[in-house]
């Protein structure tokens, strides 16, 4: 037992010491990424946020990052490593880093942690995420009118609430403008794997889909669509502008920069507190990338109006009446979904076919 406590204290002491010496030094901000920074999607945008922090604060900050960190035991080590090396604030930017972040945060009470897309918080752990589903509604609105086969393919990553929410939101918006629309969801079980994503896109195209939505981070589906021709896609997490004007006809852009700058500032000012942030189109965390000329002008205009209405809070993408897939009532006429039900969403809305894997 004595060895145990000595080692434990030593670890803690180093943690404290490194936090204490950080006073005069620049604030050290760490980022843990799930993909490579060149993924052109999710991790790319988080890294853009990091660069924005560097640009904004100059010599006052020093940023470090580690890319392609697997979600699991390795993540805990990577985060510990950053904390040991004196990081004052660490952003862990994938859902699977949730438990590792909480575990490391317990050992380093003086280091601040920010976990993206999770739901576990502590005194020194905040969570943040974006209301991607707002962007999905705009995509669904465009997709529903662009499809000629009335078949929209959707590449899902993992069947977690965030992804299911996106599918529901896109479907409801598409259905609204095109009652005949059908969604075909393929689960890739990865956030970033160009080969798997390309296969999924190919399979969807062969099954007749002429518009493809993706909740994975690479540009492989765009490339597959380009090759097939006459198939439209949307940029995911990042603009994916290299596929403009078609197949990529618009995109959802995650803009983390303002949030990251705010949080770094809060640590500098000593005002940082554990919070739960869920920003959307209104706060600028979710952006809609340029809608290209491949989209008819009236559709584009309608999409921008929808974005406007969502951003101002005038319209909620989940506004009743909406039934669940099994036909039971979820939202009554005029009722909007609470954040709580959205955060735990584990069902399809009425009209979607197929089952959520479980």
């Amino acid at each position: 037992m004595s060895v145990k406590s000595i080692l434990g204290t030593a670890a803690l002491a180093v943690g404290l010491a490194s936090a204490a010496t950080a006073q005069d030094d620049p604030l050290k901000v760490g980022f843990i990424y799930v993909g490579p920074i060149g993924d052109g999607g999710w991790t790319y945008e988080h890294n853009e946020g990091r660069l924005a922090v560097e640009e904004h604060f100059g010599d006052q900050v020093e940023t470090v990052y580690q890319e392609s960190v697997p979600e699991g035991a390795d993540a805990e080590r990577a985060i510990t490593q950053m904390a040991l090396q004196g990081a004052d604030l660490i952003f862990t930017t994938s859902f699977g880093y949730m438990d590792p972040t909480i575990n490391v945060a317990q050992k380093f009470p003086d280091v601040k942690f920010e976990h993206a897309t999770g739901y576990k918080r502590a005194d020194n752990v905040s969570t943040y995420s974006a209301r991607f589903y707002e962007g999905r509604a705009v995509q669904g609105y465009i997709a529903g009118q662009m499809t000629e086969t009335n078949k929209i393919g959707y590449i899902g990553s993992f069947p977690i609430p965030e992804v299911i929410r996106g599918i529901n939101s896109a479907y409801l918006a598409a259905k609204e403008v095109n009652p005949d629309v059908e969604f075909n969801v393929v689960w890739a079980y990865t956030w970033f794997d160009p080969a798997k994503e390309a296969d999924a896109a190919q399979a969807l195209i062969e099954q007749g889909a002429d518009v493809i939505l993706q909740h994975t981070d690479s540009t492989a589906p765009q490339a597959a669509a380009e090759k097939a021709g006459d198939v439209y896609t949307f940029g995911q997490a990042s603009d994916m502008a290299e596929y403009k004007p078609a197949p990529r006809i618009s995109s959802i852009i995650d803009n983390w920069a303002p949030y990251y700058i705010d949080r770094v500032q809060a640590v500098m000012d000593g005002t940082w507190e554990s919070t739960d942030t869920w920003g959307g189109i209104g706060t600028g965390m979710v952006g809609i990338g340029e809608i290209t000329d491949a989209v008819p002008a009236d559709v584009k205009e309608g999409a921008l109006a929808l974005k406007e209405r969502i951003g101002s809070g005038e319209y909620h993408p989940f506004t009743g009446p909406i039934n669940r897939q099994d036909g039971s009532q979820w939202l009554a006429e005029g009722e909007t979904a609470t954040d709580e039900t959205l955060l735990g969403m584990d069902f399809y809305v009425e009209g979607l076919e197929g089952e959520i894997p479980n």
């Binding site: 490579p36 990052y65 580690q66 390795d74 859902f95 739901y119 993992f158 609430p161 955060l343 479980n358």
Partner: protein
């Protein structure tokens, strides 16, 4: 003129020297790579190879080295027995996954009962899970003469699909708000494979890896089975005359390597990883193949190779976050290690001669 001349016998000196030479060559080539990326090569190499063991935070990294090396060694030991006999189990990753699932399922079935028997049962279930998964290529090979390389490899993808199904379905944490992933076994005392001495990184998997090393050493040196394995690898015909039953050997080698991979998975899921999740596996099963060859298929060699491989991972991660080296550079660096090992391996079986071939 440089010529290669086949040695009558593999050189025992070069057998021992080539792994070290490969590491040195990797450091040099890696240094050039890091320099080309704008880093101080000496600092980069020191960050990878020296700092985790002797640097400022070595008290943390040393333990992590064991955590990372244990599954590699445990799996590689099992693989090396088959490899020696020419039985190629490439699917340890799948056996690792199935072992983890079976072990975790047994633990979760008892939740929340805090009985001492839970963890031993999980260990047994993990080993049996890996064993049975390896029996698929084994039996197909002995009955239908299928290729165990292909069957075991393809079963990895089946195992990954089962893993996803388990994380989303049967083993999903009922209190996890619909998110995939099982309960965290580390937070369930009876099933947790925690550090035995805090801060050292030593958990049951590390102990099991050490036992496996000793077991394999004794088996190969002292046991008839070890003799059969070595004989089959060197001369399958002679082995048959010596009374070796090739089918039994396939079953034994695949079964044992499967069981050890399953154990590695169980210790990982109940310890460092903590839970069954969709991407629980991180290619230990494939990396262990490199470890087995880097260690010359010799138990002690594998022990050292496992630690070295773990060092390149841990040091590589440190180099990423402190020096800003890209992850791809670290992967290339690890690839170089295998490349150089295979390249200098030539020296074991061939002699380099300078000058013209003599006229006979």
């Amino acid at each position: 003129m440089i010529r290669l001349e086949k040695r009558p016998e593999p050189s025992s000196l070069w057998t021992a020297v080539t792994p070290v030479l490969a590491v040195v060559l990797t450091m040099i080539a890696g240094g050039i790579l890091f320099a080309a990326l704008g880093n101080e090569p000496v600092i980069a190499i020191r960050t990878i190879f020296w700092d985790p063991i002797f640097g400022e935070f070595a008290f943390y990294y040393r333990g992590q080295l064991l955590v990372k090396a244990a599954p590699l060694i445990l799996i590689a030991i099992g693989l090396s027995l088959g490899f020696r006999a020419g039985i190629w189990n490439i699917g340890a990753e799948g056996q690792y996954i199935i072992g983890a699932i079976c072990g975790a399922a047994v633990g979760l079935a008892f939740y929340p009962a805090n009985l001492w028997i839970v963890f031993p049962l999980m260990v047994i279930a993990g080993a049996i899970g890996g064993f049975l998964w390896a029996m698929i290529p084994a039996i197909l090979k002995t009955r239908f003469n299928t290729n165990e390389i292909l069957v075991s490899l393809l079963l990895v993808y089946v195992a990954e699909a089962i893993l996803a199904w388990m994380a989303l379905g049967p083993l999903r944490n009922p209190e996890g708000a619909g998110f995939p992933g099982s309960r965290n076994l580390r937070q369930y005392e009876a099933a947790a494979n925690l550090e035995l001495i805090e801060g050292t990184g030593i958990h049951w998997g590390v102990i099991a890896a050490l036992i496996a090393v000793i077991f394999a050493y004794v088996l190969l040196k002292r046991h008839m089975m070890g003799f059969h394995i070595r004989l089959t690898g060197q001369s399958p015909r002679a082995a048959r005359f010596a009374g070796v039953n090739p089918n039994m050997l396939v079953i034994f080698c695949l079964g044992l390597s499967g069981a050890l991979a399953g154990l590695a998975g169980l210790f990982e899921v109940s310890g460092p990883a903590g839970q069954i999740s969709i991407d629980f596996n991180v290619f230990y099963g494939f990396t262990a193949i490199i470890v087995a060859f880097l260690g010359r298929l010799h138990p002690i060699g594998i022990l050292l190779a496992g630690l070295l491989m773990a060092l390149t991972y841990i040091g590589g991660e440190a180099a990423q976050s402190t020096l800003g080296l890209p992850a791809a550079a670290i992967q290339a660096f690890q690839g170089m290690l295998l490349f150089f090992l295979l390249a200098v391996d030539l020296l074991t079986n061939y002699r380099v001669r300078l000058g013209r071939e003599g006229v006979a």
